[in-house]
Amino acid sequence: MQELITRAKELLADGTVARVLGWKAGDLEYNPQPAFFTNEKELEEFVYNGFCGANLSKYMIEASKLEGKTLICLKPCDSYSFQQLMKEHRIDREKAYIIGVGCKGKLDIDRIKANGLKGVTGVTGAELTDDCEELCVTTLYGDKKIPYADGMLERCSVCKGKEHMICDEQIGESKDTKTGERFAKVAAVEEMSSAEKFAFFQKELSKCIRCNACRNVCPACSCRKCVFDSTKFDSAQKANVDSFEEKMFHIIRAFHVAGRCTDCGECSRVCPQGIPLHLFNRKFIKDINELYGEYQAGADIEAKAPLTSYVFEDVEPSVVAERSKS
């Protein structure tokens, strides 16, 4: 982290960048938040540790409008989102100075707590410089040690890889964290009967409080005006609880980002209700891969997106019924 701060100070000092986009400590130790830093003094608050899961690429949309370059820290997975936004002309590459930061897997406080820990007051071992395989969790009931991997975000266990799709320089080492199969859970749901699937999703979606955290954090959900806030679609019906928006929000959101979602997993990370929202996005990605060929949004800026291209031989929609179990 110190190397990163030193480099940021240098770049600020020599005028290469006008500001730094990184993370600073949040109200809770395990909750750092995205922040802009414009001078050396502010940079003292800069943090980069295992809890810096937040994908900063979306902030570059606003930063692109500012005078001068912005130093942006991107983890390998964030770089996909950055490139996807470049592809959609939402951010200006020329306005960014990208430092690709190393990643050894990002932590999730809920996952840590799920190890049977109560009254968590702090976590050590989350620093990137710590080459430890263990986290030390201080709780009201004493200190507990758990393997690092047991505290990781789900998305890190199915990591797309530790290679930056785009960056100007790299700081920090990465460590492979992939232990699982990315589509295993989607496949498991697909195996369920129709009634089981419905019960599963009804349970999950009923938790939704429509706080819009998923929408706000999503780099693909970056419309100037969301269709659900628009009068042009007759879809915003805030007064009515039992409305179109309430029921269909997540399906439509997933459809709107289909072919553009890089599977950064931020939606699930920020959901206060713990809804596994990535299961929607990943379903579309899985279908796209299976039906139209492997496609990773944000990996190749020139690649044709699956929903804005076609081939004559594409499968018919009836394939859905044919391959469905129920």
Partner: protein
């Protein structure tokens, strides 16, 4: 046709038809007096690619029991490529609906040309029959538990 397992159930079925092929196919079915159940209501769209998944979800939310999209045969699109985009969009949407547990017989895509009045009528008959067999759509209406 003989569909009446449940005399109470009157399904609501929305058919989106492209102006150039399927809507004309429906007209031909009409002028040829090829019947299909009155449960089907047609909405004219310029092309199958005009159909936004939101229209389909909205129909279900408002109480539709089945939604069918008809367009020109692949390769015959009046706008060259519209139905190809529609095909991908609908495939993914239908797959998602299947994934969340909505019975996949409630949605269908069928390519019907302007000359295929017989196919239009047959398609609607078979679709309505399927919807009768599935009964009322409750899942999409009740995607979120009301309590």
């Amino acid at each position: 046709m003989s569909i009446n397992n449940n005399s109470e159930f009157k399904p609501k079925i929305v058919a989106f038809c492209c102006n150039w092929c399927s809507y004309a196919g429906a007209d031909l079915a009409g002028s040829s007096r090829l019947t299909y159940p009155a449960d089907v209501k047609i909405i004219r769209v310029p092309c199958s690619c005009r159909v936004n998944p939101m229209f389909i979800l909205r129909a279900f939310e408002k109480g539709a029991d089945g939604v069918i999209l008809c367009g020109c045969h692949p390769g015959d699109c009046h706008y060259t490529s519209g139905n190809f985009y529609a095909r991908r969009r609908m495939t993914l949407l239908f797959s998602m609906l299947d994934y969340i547990g909505v019975e996949n017989g409630r949605t269908r895509v069928e390519w019907v040309s302007a000359a295929e009045g017989v196919k239009f009528s047959a398609t609607m008959n078979s679709f309505v029959e399927k919807i009768y067999s599935l009964g009322k759509n409750v899942r999409l209406e009740d995607l979120r538990c009301k309590n």
